[in-house]
Amino acid sequence: MTHPITVFVARKIVTMNPSNPEGTHVAVRDGKVLGVGTLQEVAGWGEYTLDATFADKVLVPGMIEVHAHAMEGLTGLFSYQGYFDRMAPDGRRLPGLRSIDAVLADLRRIDATMADPTEPLLTVGFDPIYFPGERLHKGHLDSVSSTRPIFLLHASSHLGTVNSAMLARHDITRDCLTIGVAKGDDGEPTGELQEMSAMALAQSALVPFMKAATGEECLWGFGRMARQVGVTCVTDLASQVLLNPAALGRWQRIVNDPEFPSRVALYSLPAMPGASADFGSVAAAIKRMQAEEATEKLRFPGVKFVLDGSIQGWTAAMNWPGYYTGSDHGQLLTIPEQLVDWLRPFHDAGINVHMHCNGEATIDVAIDAVEAVLKDVAWLDHRHTVQHSQLTNQAHFRRMKALGMCANLFANHIWYWGDQHYELTVGPERANRMEPCATAKRVGVPFSLHSDANVTPLGPLHLMWCAVNRTTPSGRVLGEQEKITAYDALWAVTQDAAYQMHLDGELGSIECGKYADFAVLDASPLDVAPMAIKDIAVWGTVVGGVAYEAAVTR
């Protein structure tokens, strides 16, 4: 039986294959690329159908996001109150709110649309770091409604602000002993609930949100969001598939559905029912999934450890001299010698490990642990990856290079929190070398760029724009010396992104033998002015030769 061949013609095809960098035609059979070049060069594979849908578009390799969370799929399902504009998976533009008054006006608008006056109102995305000097409290929210319970889940997911009706509904009073229930000078709760232990007191708002985060609509939204921004393989980098077998079935059913527009790589948290810390059995379970459950679209490349907090939350673990303002040094979440024991079963089984490390101290700990396991088992091609890796310095990178490690840099931070890092968290010098792409390139550590969606919006063109321009909202250039070229940035979100998941033999470039995964763009990010990279329109994607057109932005 002959399998049909489709030849896509484009204005330009940027392959990211160094030995065959450009073409105008790509021949596809069985979801994979036969060849890229001129029509003449690809026509020899046999009878084909010419598809001119992209005749005026530019194809680049489908972009790969190696650090996102499925919760991104919830964007737009709950009212969004972030500072910056955001897009929902269906293309809706969710406007940013630039003042507390704007947040309150938006709440009044939502309140008026809700029929039941006692139904809780929950919004997401609010971030107090953009409103220095004015702390949101229950009084603000009481001005919206004295009867409807209101809960603003902040962007960090570590804080919430509620109104008096919510406090009353859950009996959160001055007598409440939970430390995270912030109290004012009068001893009464201010409405701010800090950390999950306090937020969980207001269950009526939080429980529906938590349920939605594991629901089918969320997973579909995750894939559709990928399509909107040119991503053809997206990770859920804290997956609970091991902990919750029902979740595995849900992912399989949805991702393997031909309508689902992306590949998905699930990096499990090392948690299983019951014997959660028996990492030997966790490693065995991952090996089993890799062997028996993986499909062309759904993969289980490895395991994810979370080793510290966040820089903008002052919880990333720092070395001397600690944070620029505030006296704390952050929090390690794992004991260094224990981390070695935890890594060992995965490393020994040949499972790729990704470690969430924001602070310098945490990066030390992660590198030390990889060095320790490598001394015992010489798996040289592990590609264990420091995720976030925001404050990685040259000494770190040199060790990482020597040990065969990768970095995934959180380039979006430059735009979303760069000014705050400069002024508040780490100070000018270290802020200028955050997300040090140029140092990683100079030392030779393979690196990718990530959004940590839903922490920041999914969108590799925006990541590239950040890495190339390093511009903050105030107009500051954060670290001129760490800028990279558009080519290096595109390489990071394609070839090196695939590399750090051991998928670069299948993904990451448009070349013979790899999957036919393309991002379909109006212009090449290598040709436009650097400041225009983020504004390139995305038509949609091609995944395994199947076109998925983005919903029109509106």
Binding site: D171, A200, G274, A277, A361, D364, V365
Partner: protein, 328 residues
């Protein structure tokens, strides 16, 4: 919201660095529960090394033991584990949370304020041999100090591995860096169950099988006449450091119509207004648990002091007047 129908379940949080003896302590608890239905929330069942013949049932996230205790996994997070406990057909009478090696146990303790629970105390286990070295470790030192400072009751464990001089130095150092934590010295984390779960009358009244493990002294006090709240608080504040647990229902001169509940864990104690008395029950009942104190004071002088202090609560009633002071 109205008062919950069931009294809140007490929650003990056990923290401390890797290898300090947390799991050993939890094991002791499970083996000496004496009929108290304890739920322990742990990250790792495997480390508990529960005898197979003790296990009655295992269903993924929960292991049920023959003695009525259960072990629950924390893999899904504390909120999920705590809410799951309340949903059980027969909820436990006590909850013990074992935190991981660099966790701040005080942060975990905040989950004990969820509806249906109350925080009983934070117990931190420290390895006498290594704790000072850990406290200056460039990566984890800060976390170790944070744990020690957060303890209501600080178990200085493995004291058999250090000399008397080292022990005295260590006690002085702990007094400096964790002044609000009450220190108890142990070997093999063998803290009497009564000192851990002393708030329960069940645990008070039952005999432990392990005599050595249970070396402690109990004081009981009762008085049908109202006692003076101000005097009572002064008495509690002056108790010797060897008193590690206390629980009681107080009949106070200041508010004779309402029972007050007294709790003490290590250096931390509270008096909380409870429900109105059933008239026939209007009696102060108090239990204190003391452990042999290895520091400066001899056990003997502590015993006499506590005897005397309790006695004075009785005689004081003739001259006591209601005070204006607000209760804690």
């Amino acid at each position: 919201m109205s008062e919950p129908a069931q009294p809140p379940i007490p929650v003990t949080v056990i923290g401390g660095y890797l290898g300090a003896g947390k799991t050993t302590l939890v094991n002791h608890l499970l083996r000496n529960a004496n009929g108290l239905r304890i739920a322990v929330l742990v990250n790792d069942f495997g480390a508990l090394q529960i005898d197979a013949d003790l296990i009655e049932a295992a269903d993924g996230d929960t292991i049920s033991l023959a003695n009525g205790c259960i072990c629950c996994s924390l893999a899904g997070g504390l909120v999920e584990a705590m809410l799951g406990i309340l949903d059980r057909p027969q909820p436990p009478e006590w909850v013990v949370i074992e935190t991981s090696g660099v966790s701040d146990p005080v942060a975990a303790a905040q989950y004990a304020h969820l509806p249906g629970f109350r925080l009983d105390g934070v117990i931190v286990v420290a390895d006498a041999e290594t704790v000072r070295r850990r406290s200056i470790d460039r990566h984890v030192g800060r976390h170790v100090l944070q744990q020690l400072r957060g303890a209501d009751l600080l178990l200085l464990n493995k004291t058999d591995l250090i000399t008397t001089d080292q022990r005295n130095d260590l006690r002085q150092w702990l007094a400096d860096i964790a002044p609000d934590s009450r220190v108890v010295e142990t070997v093999g984390a063998r803290l009497p169950v009564a000192a851990l779960l002393g708030g329960s009358h069940v645990a008070f009244d039952r005999q432990s099988h392990d005599e050595h493990f249970d070396a402690h002294r109990t004081w009981s006090f009762s008085d049908a006449h109202a006692i003076d709240g101000g005097r009572f608080r002064a008495t509690v504040a002056a108790l010797p450091a060897s008193i590690v647990r206390g629980k009681g229902v107080l009949h106070l001169v200041e508010q004779p119509e309402v029972a007050h509940v007294f709790q003490l864990v290590g250096a931390r104690w509270s008096i909380v207004r409870g429900s109105p008395w059933v008239p026939a029950d209007r009696v102060t009942r108090l239990v204190l648990i003391g452990l042999p104190d290895h520091s400066d004071h001899s056990d003997h002088s502590d015993v006499e002091a506590v005897d005397r202090m309790l006695q004075e609560l009785h005689v004081d009633r003739e001259r006591s007047d209601p005070l204006d002071e607000e209760l804690v």
